[in-house]
Symmetry: C2
Subunit: 224 residues, 2 copies
């Protein structure tokens, strides 16, 4: 298997990130490419969730992944080895988030002619990534059970910009004080329209619900 591509992302020169993000969305729409921005804390299980999701969808959609990290390329390698799909690593040069221009730099390293869905795994961080529109069609986030059900109270913006909150590591629920109903209530406080999807990426339980949502999203985006 050839080596995973590592791209050193430069800090954006665009002051007007929001306009740039809208432009990027328009371009992606024209090309029929759906971009999902996936965010979370460090260690919430983004990569494992992606592997499960991709393996459920890869026969129906042409998928590529961009893994953003401060350093290392372990995630891009893991994704490629476990799913066989194109996966590149974006190094953010210490930056704590991606904006639309940085996302564009990543996309320019993918062959978008052959892709229906690009998943951007953002830097593990509940603060900064929420502040920057990447140009994605939707934002989703993963909250893992060990982090606690009170995270929507402490990181309000992250939960208000996400259309889907995947609650991961439900298998360890018995060992933590995590109340799923309370979590749903807190998420609703931040974003009444957000959907909460409990999963266990380790066993695969519930991942098909997230995969179905994503499949319908991509289909609608291409057909609208």
């Amino acid at each position: 298997m050839e080596e995973v591509k590592v791209i050193e992302i430069k800090k954006s020169v665009f002051a007007e990130n929001e306009k740039d993000a809208d432009d990027l969305r328009t371009e992606l729409k024209k090309r029929g490419v759906y971009l999902l921005n996936l965010m979370s804390s460090p260690g919430s299980g983004k990569t494992t969730t992606l592997i499960r999701t991709i393996n459920l969808l890869k026969d129906k959609l042409r998928i590529a992944v961009m893994e953003a990290d401060i350093d290392s390329n372990v995630d891009a390698v893991k994704i490629r080895e476990a799913t066989g799909i194109p996966s590149i690593q974006l190094h953010t040069g210490g930056m704590c988030h991606l904006d639309a221009e940085m996302t564009r730099q990543g996309l320019s390293n993918l062959d978008l002619e052959d892709v229906d869905l690009v998943i951007l795994e953002n830097v593990g961080n509940l603060v900064c990534p929420a502040e920057f529109d990447t140009g994605s069609c939707r934002n989703a986030m993963i909250l893992s059970v060990p982090e606690g059900d009170d995270k929507p109270l402490k990181y309000p913006l992250m939960f208000s910009v996400c259309d889907v909150v995947v609650v991961n590591k439900t298998d360890v629920m018995p060992y933590f004080d995590f109340d799923l109903d309370k979590c749903r209530e807190y998420v609703r406080m931040r974003n009444p329209k957000a959907r909460v999807i409990p999963i266990c990426a380790k066993t695969g339980e519930g991942v098909e619900v997230f995969a179905d949502w994503l499949f319908r999203e991509v289909r609608n985006w291409k057909n609208q």
Copy 2:
């Protein structure tokens, strides 16, 4: 019990944060106050660890806590209720970290004449807080078992600026793929001098090791 104080922190106007941080350290030294900057991902157990640590030390040291968060005051309330020590909440106005000037604004709301040790619980984030010297005497961080042993590979700066890495939630080690030896090795790659202290804040196991380290630190700082 009176209401917990909530301070809306303003963004720093000092370009030279490093100089400002050094100045703050010098001032604290003169006043005999030790400042610990405690960092981690969201949900790693900072507050629970602090409560255990404070209860072990509060008869020997006069302690105050500053809880930094984007929003909510749940942590400051928890600390005060569980330990009885002075605890204030710093709201960062969406900022993802604290710098020296922001820390100074917090400290100005504490009565430092009556304090030996101030613990700053930084915003839950493994990226940005590592980039800003708060003026603390030492940086410590908590890595919780569910986050995974590979975090030093992905968040190098955080691990290189911390003198102590507390590995929390060791009680759930059997349910996660977390290799403590591997973790120690990765931490050492980033900072050969960093000390790794495994604890379980929930049961209290190992917390006395962290408390002893902190007690000696404060004593040395005051006596040097």
